[in-house]
Symmetry: C2
């Protein structure tokens, strides 16, 4: 197989053809990764942090060229991609800062307790060790922040792991450029090429994930693809952690008390839904509104004036269009659509599908159908009881929102119900916009994530790649050399 960039604005292929990494090439990449891991995991924390900062600098110093090629490959636009590079270098620096400050990696010293059993015990130093070599599968919708040098790679590197990154086929040139910049920065710091390797092709990724020297996998992408890789990781002779983010149908709940300005609410909703052509894992997939509210007609009247931006790839459009058609059929609904663009680019008109809580409860597959793109499902509910019952049918999701007045007695009920389903609950704010912050939880119940107790954004992401080891009664001379 091969991959070639397609310009979403023209539908035309351009640039070099990338062949899938061959079996022989992967074998040598894995050997290099072993060397890389040895060098990286044994380097001092100060040196590791310095190298991470050098990688971040390399991104910032090449901002213009990076954004230019990524824009051609993804059509996401210069402003968004510029801020995405900034987010990517920022999160690499945040991890560098965290480990430099000893955060998450400082050994926990449990001093000996001279007491009868069960309270008495020898000294135990609980330290952490990097898991090993991690395979990271890049996402299509964030060519920087969730790709070769995205959060998974940054947190794995910060933990002391080596990374084999699998490029997403929709932006192979961006991936290659990012990889080159990173390995050059690492080389300048004296690190071998195997600290961060790049591979192309699904089969190459599978071979890497099956390799006995690989210790973990991380993935952001489709449910089917992620589950297949999860199954591979779990059915190995030695299973390994697989941190998959598999797509998410995010529920947003509006109570009547949160809808004081229907017009502004509808505008904000459509802005969130259509951000990046709806290609966000946190987009407001489902909006619950009280029946009888004017909000639905307000949304429908506004969407007709909305224009699409391009899909990331022809495959993304096909998948979206199929899911939109499935949803419309399941609910016997006619989507209300916005404007189309017919200039050879990869577009679909934005759309709203309207249904009722009663209908959707009879067709709960609709609640599990992710339209990754510019389609929103608006569900009207007739009572708080019906709302809560319908929420109970929702799948696990990355994020959700509640719009309500603080003194609305139903607000707490809606929050409680939603918290069962999501990894992040936003109050009177939209689920899009995932801050890179220590308090962030980007990971929800399955299928949103394969491990809901972990996050892929924010500093806690590093804990996915650290294994604790307790050292019992270690003399100081040995501890000083070992830890």
């Amino acid at each position: 197989m091969t991959a070639q960039s397609i310009n979403p604005r023209t539908g035309q292929a351009f640039g070099p053809v990338f062949a899938d990494t061959s079996f022989g090439e992967i074998e040598s990449i894995i050997e290099q990764a072993k060397v890389g891991f040895n060098a990286w995991s044994t380097a001092s924390i100060a040196k590791r942090a310095e190298a991470l900062n050098a990688i971040a600098d390399a991104l910032d110093n090449n901002l213009t060229e990076l954004v230019e090629i990524a824009d051609l490959e993804t059509g996401l636009g210069v402003p968004r991609l510029t801020s995405e590079v900034g987010r990517t270098s920022f999160q690499i620096r945040e991890f560098a800062k965290a480990i430099h400050a000893g955060r998450f990696i400082t050994p926990e010293i449990d001093v000996a307790a001279d007491a009868p059993l069960p309270a008495g015990h020898p000294e135990l130093i609980r330290a952490v060790s990097p898991l090993g070599i991690v395979v990271v599968f890049g996402a299509n919708n964030f060519p920087f922040a969730f790709s070769v040098l995205g959060g998974d790679t940054a947190s794995a590197l910060a933990a002391g792991c080596a990374v084999i990154a699998k490029a997403h086929p929709s932006h192979p040139q961006t991936s290659t450029m990012v990889h080159k910049l990173a390995t050059q920065a690492l080389a300048d710091q004296g690190f071998p090429v195997g600290v961060l390797s790049l591979i192309h092709g699904v089969e190459a990724g599978v071979i890497a994930l099956k390799s006995e020297v690989v210790s973990a996998g991380a993935f952001t992408g489709s449910r089917a693809g992620g589950r297949a890789l999860f199954n591979i990781a779990q059915s190995r002779e030695i299973p390994i952690p697989f941190y998959g983010e598999l797509g998410s149908v995010n529920p947003v709940v509006a109570l009547a008390s949160g809808l004081s300005d229907p017009k502004a609410f509808a505008t904000a909703y459509l802005d969130s839904l259509l951000l990046g052509n709806g290609q966000f894992c946190t987009n407001p997939s489902i909006l619950f509104v009280p029946s009888g509210s004017s909000i639905v007609s307000e949304i429908e009247s506004q969407i007709v004036d909305r224009s699409p931006t391009p899909f990331l790839s022809p495959a993304t459009k096909t998948s979206h269009d199929n899911n939109r058609a499935k949803l419309a059929k399941l609910l016997s609904a006619d989507p209300v659509v916005g404007k189309t663009i017919d200039d050879g680019g990869i577009y679909s008109a934005p759309a709203i599908i309207r249904t009722t809580a009663a209908q959707v409860s009879a067709q709960s597959e609709a609640l599990a159908t992710e339209c990754f793109g510019p389609t929103g499902l608006v569900i009207t509910y007739s009572s708080i009881a019906e709302l809560l019952a319908t929420l109970d049918h929702c799948e696990g999701a990355l994020a959700g929102s509640v719009f309500a007045a603080t003194d609305d007695d139903n607000a707490i009920k809606a929050c409680r119900a939603l918290a069962q389903k999501v990894g992040r609950l936003a109050w009177n704010s939209w689920p899009t916009g995932v801050a890179v912050s220590v308090g962030q939880q980007h990971g929800g119940p399955y299928p949103a994530s394969t491990s809901s107790i972990h996050t892929s954004v924010g500093l806690h992401a590093i804990t996915r790649f650290l294994r604790p080891i307790s050292y019992q009664s270690l003399p100081k001379e040995i501890a000083d050399q070992l830890l």
Copy 2:
């Protein structure tokens, strides 16, 4: 299927026959567990801690009867079982104390940052929520500390989860008595029966693990059984975390500098190896000693005088004897055996199998053969290089030890090599004896554990059952009710 207690000292069955929990019974137990989870997870932390302490008190207040029945079922002896009950109530109280102090459960408040992106962000409160209902599979070798009210149950309850405990068939009466005491203590505190349920039979455990309302599994036992359950948990439509401890071949390394008193060392080694008839997941399965040392002949001269204590069950003896025979055959070695007891009880003579690093490297399956019982493998090595190469062939293990002088240059090399393989590294001390302490790590690379980044002993065990949720921009009035 049914289970009945067998007295290991006589080989005779006694007491009531326990039928496997039927499908219908499990369905109603699961319904009860849902009710139990609702009550338990929404109780205040103070109330939860109080109930945990009441459970611990119930164990201590019934010490004599508990030990009596457990001794009849396991043959582990009154002193060991008395201390095991103490360990069990202690660890329940430690978890109660930890949550009462807010440890692991206090929300992390990430205040809003008023700055341009990517640094700016809204307030995020990262709180934790109990995963749900947990199925705990009890171990045969710790009828209290790793069974119905063992560390898995205690940490899951402390996290706010409800537990369905599957009794080990080798001690159904002890399991039933422990469960009765716990549910009575919970009832006295106003909690429903479903907070902690008891089931019998492998199929019942599998049905529970497959139930869509179950959110996690925890297991201590054999590699084959644990892997089968792990596979079930991972291949569900919605996979769930499965924290399995699957048995461990623990390597102990003695350098020449650590063997100044061969006679005392041999005695201490055999004491550790034969503790509880060798039925410890942390027993010193493999001992590496320098060739030419007098230690091997010292061990062999001492073992002939050692007597066995009973196996936990006929099945444990059969499995041990088969593995010992397999090991002897793989290595073409004649075990040197100790004394036998032939009074109708379930015994095998203690034994040492001696081999060389060269032999075992040619038959690395031997390094993966766990003789769960009174059999030790002693491996002589001719150089530090040969030792390190052989250690590299070892599987993941729960614990390991290094015996050496502090100023021995090879000590650090041995520690580094061993740390790759184990979850706990003991210096000049034996791997048996797992302190219930915050610094403890009882979990090593597979097959020792299915999740080496977690521990099943010590306070950190609670994190296995807590899911983080970030609350974004939550007003104080709502936060006060919700968190």
